[in-house]
Subunit: 478 residues, 3 copies
């Protein structure tokens, strides 16, 4: 039973052919130690502001990581096993029992990036190379508990150890940003900056919309009676986010439709929604498109980078959502259009002021067909990193192969980790760096790029582009 | 002229890089001899029940293999050449002449899986390594005839030689399953089991629907006057199929839409259709979705695995269909949706009772975007093997690369050969095993998987998963 | 500073694994010198008929190459920089200044095929291996000017040096083809033939349609008062094109919808459009589909190959189009359907007379899903080369991998360069030959194809298939 250790391959993910591997290794060695520039993610600022000890292996690694829980559920683990703080008739498992379950299903993660991240987290972050299994579950649980009791494994200590230059969080538009204020006063060795995600204000037909508007009005210190009130409040709050270090807003949206409606129609829809009248799906979609259009106009003025994350049926299983909440892994992507949907926004703002947008997609057919052609001509359009289910070696390679020929490298925005799982941040950036090194080595081996050029590009993809695209210091010629 | 032999490369389809090839070879060697578990296919049970000698090279290999005839037609061979037993004014070619035509067009098969299967069939099954060409056509025809006269080349003898553990056929819901009864009494060294495919009962606007309902009522020994009669008969007949060994049903459907309509509306539609009233396309689609929903409910109770084969415009050329019949190669896939279409079924039955479905697609954009996310969270959803046009090395690799990162291996259902061409079964499984070995070797070479793990996965993909997913004995934890 | 030279790798684009590379090299060596058969492109016949000296590096390589200008625009170069002969308030840059800008942004082209083509043009055509950069810009500009002053770099001299067997241009249906007449009388060592592209006549709702009909009527020497007049004129002009050497027509169309409308309805629409009445988008689309259907009928008679280039939102940014004209890089592809859209045309003409069509797409999901299945059964359907944004090594490889398994090689139409940039023709054919060699070498290494067969296929893809499919001499069995 000596075999049950995790063997981390130093050449992980590098191409197999020896000559190409040597080139990739050289590139990777030059970028592996660069700082982490993480300009889109979902780590809670409170985690770092409060700097509490992590509670257990389970809360650290399992409970809130829907990549993991969804695969466990697919293997038959009941949803009620997890302590998601929803009222269910069933008692959740103890942290230790969830951990045991996870270890039992370790083989189900073969071939997934989650496995790679977890191995990285165990070995490189926690210093534990024991392979999870039914037999090792308890021992591992205790070993991790031991680590977590050590102050060196508190969030802030890890933040510094990870070499994070900047970490963007995702925040409601009514957030008071107090955690960020705490973190600005702390000396973390890197910035933690907010990102405004106003989705809940844009969904006038959704349950809870009026409450969201109320909360937003309160935070903005204003009354919101007509649409203009909300737009003015948004402008002000964007400025406050910017003052707190924000470089971007983020928008989750079913489609990429961004289009103005006549002011009169928008005002009337807003009024009806505020009065609690029924808004149908088409009206809600048109209103969302309108508010995104207004957001683009604001971005052209204040320069906050507009990120669009479209094309997911979120909470696709409404029974699961009602019982267990959001972000439980029941979010299913679908096919979307970009060419027609983005046209009104780009005709209006594609060359306007400080406007800049970063486009993500879970419909990878858009990469070569629509997004690379758009990013390859509009100076304001950038391609976001492969996102969510695409945050994986194969999808990253497909992304580079699909977009580079049309958009080059300079119209991409670098890697973002997009994670809630704080411990996985270095693992995710490491995978991205390895895959970029592998891709660039292929270009060098094919005679398409010189080695010196490849190195320049590798560094640019890792730190230069995200800094420049998100306007963090290195503005350069863009 | 000594070159005209078929050279079978022992490393066929294994990756070219020597180190990766060595790993792949090792994996392949361990799985190449495993039994064939073939749980979805279209071989006629009568072939084995009657065990007649095959008639000629042409009927054995050409006439009913639309992969072959379609490519010959694309090269200008007239449809009338084939003896498809349809009334045409033109005399079909003799078997020998069709064979000559096929041999003449042998180069047109370069780069296709059909070529690989045919080479396997000639060399490995028939023991003939002569390459087809105009010059060799007659000699080959005669050599094959000689083989076929040998009792060792009768269907049952081949069945045993192929090492088939189980072979599923596809059967009309009114089949009396008498051939299967004969086969249960024979000692084949493996099972031949039926699969119910009730498509014809679900298409109320199709020509022949009323006749199908009549035939079904007769087989079920009941009257069918209202929809409930048909549903009850379906439940009973499913039980009879199950008693005859069936583990699954199969559903060819234009879209993946599965959704309940109000009983009253469904009853009324059924009545109108039975009365011969006109049903429009939208009504027919809604009724089909309703019957699929009812089928899912039945599956949740009786545990027959529900296979969905969507997204083909079957008989796309209606002139060809009218003159030459179905399954002549004029079936063209199109783009479909899964996220929205399957939602009602999965909200209702995704966690219900014994419900289990296997999803196939010819729209490969679904693999990473919709199907892997679904299979990666619902315990009842499995990814079917690359199907039809995708039953080919490149498509199989694309499949694994697209789905594994999100769904792992354990949410896939293993390989199914889906063929009418009995002789090609071992070839198809051999190609799948080689491609899986190649894919797994890549993961090992990239440091993502240990060799022992890869071997476990290879065996599981070959026999473990199909047995478990289709509930053949190895139920295990699922 | 000696490093700033362009190093052309003799093994450019060949696979990295030594054994596979050796096979690819052998294949490439056998096809690299074959004549250029260029049966779809956009070079202006006047360029060769007039044979003027090229004006400068900028007009030669930059101004009219939207692959280049779009990437410069994406980097922030203003659209007004280019001298596109549109009335703008801003003075365009001088040729030298545009060249300096291009050289400054040279790194933005890393990873794009444009870079590969430009390197080829500089080194192989112009004999200059200096790498573009801010420092070398002026020197390069002057060196190129020196070359261009040399009669050996006039268009006709280059045409002969490039080894062009045939070059097809793209021509309005009212073209008098006088340039082609001049070229027929010249001795170029190869043919320059016209291709009729009647798009402007088919768009009854577009600005300028009536003027186009007028121009066409004038060229056809007839009055066009009813639709039949135009159809008859089209038949006559097609014959005149054919007499001038044309082998094909070309059709840019938003969708692939080809379908007949009742004559009465079509006649009435035509009359309304001619009377200047408003035609809505749905009517215009139906009329376009009708004229494409009529074109297919004409093709079945006269044998001009019908090329369909669908699925682009052309001039997507109407502000840019209004100010700077068409073909400025603001053309964005979108998702389209083939299975349903082409059905009426293929049911009617798929087996009719001399009908033959070549299908291109920018929606690559069609390749494996719809186009390969269609080309793999209809003798009249061929797959066009990867087009526009897909004219790149990765997209070419994806194309072969997507279509060959279903359609083989014999149902593809060989490479077309599709370029306006005369100097890039050899570069583009060279890239295609290298990629085909690489792909075929993979098949050989995988044991799927013999070396002799691969060589036969390589030659066929390079010259045999385009000659045969476009009916240039080598008709053979097709």
């Amino acid at each position: 039973m000596t075999a049950a250790t995790i063997a981390r391959d130093p050449d992980l993910l590098l191409p197999p052919e020896p000559r190409v591997r040597a080139i990739a290794r050289e590139l990777y060695e030059c970028i592996r130690g660069l700082p982490i520039v993480s300009l889109h993610g979902h780590v809670d600022a409170a985690l770092l502001a409060e700097d509490h000890q992590f509670h257990s292996a389970t809360t650290l690694l399992i409970t809130d990581d829907h990549y993991i829980t969804r695969l466990l559920v697919s293997q038959g683990v009941p949803l009620d096993a997890f302590d998601w703080r929803r009222p269910t008739a069933v008692e959740p498992l103890s942290d230790r029992d969830v951990w045991r379950t996870f270890c039992q299903y370790w083989p189900a993660f073969r071939g997934t990036p989650t496995r790679t991240w977890l191995e990285h987290e165990l070995v490189e972050v926690l210093g534990i190379d024991r392979e999870p299994s039914e037999e090792t579950a308890d021992l591992l649980f205790d070993e991790i508990a031991e680590r977590l009791a050590d102050p060196a494994f508190r969030p802030r200590a890890l933040f510094e150890r990870f070499g994070i230059e900047v970490l963007a969080t995702t925040d409601e538009p009514w957030s008071d940003l107090s955690q960020h204020a705490v973190l600005r006063d702390a000396s973390l060795g890197g910035d933690v900056i907010p990102t405004m995600r106003p989705d809940r204000l844009f969904e006038i037909a959704a349950y809870g919309w009026r409450a969201a508007v109320g909360e937003f009005a309160h935070a903005a210190g204003t009354d919101i009676r007509v649409l203009d009130d909300m737009l003015h409040a948004l402008v002000r709050r964007r400025a406050e986010f910017q003052a707190a270090g924000a470089t971007a807003t983020d928008h989750g949206t079913p489609t990429l439709r961004v289009a103005r409606m006549p002011d009169r129609v928008a005002d009337e829809l807003f009024r009806r929604a505020l009065d609690g009248e029924r808004i149908d799906a088409a009206e809600a979609a048109a209103f969302r498109a309108h508010l995104l259009f207004e957001s683009a106009q604001m971005a052209a003025t204040d320069g906050l980078v507009m990120q669009l994350h479209p094309g997911v049926l979120r909470g696709a299983d409404r029974r699961v959502a009602a019982r267990h909440g959001e972000d439980r892994g029941f979010d299913i992507p679908f096919a979307i259009d970009a060419a027609h949907s983005l046209r009104p926004m780009l005709e209006a703002y594609g060359f306007a002021g400080r406007f800049r947008c970063v486009l993500y997609t879970l419909d990878e057919t858009l990469w070569a067909r629509e997004l690379a052609p758009l990013a390859g001509v509009y100076p304001s359009v950038f391609l976001g990193a492969p996102w969510w289910f695409h945050d994986s070696p194969n999808a990253m390679l497909r992304f580079r192969r699909a977009v580079t020929e049309t958009a080059g490298f300079q119209n991409t925005a670098g890697f973002v980790d997009d994670t809630r799982a704080f411990l996985s941040i270095p693992a995710r950036h490491d995978v991205a760096r390895r895959v970029d090194a592998a891709y660039l080595a292929e270009l060098v081996a094919a005679g398409l790029l010189g080695r010196d050029e490849a190195l320049e590009v590798a560094v640019d993809l890792t730190v230069g582009l995200p800094r420049r695209v998100f306007r963090r210091g290195e503005e350069g010629h863009r």
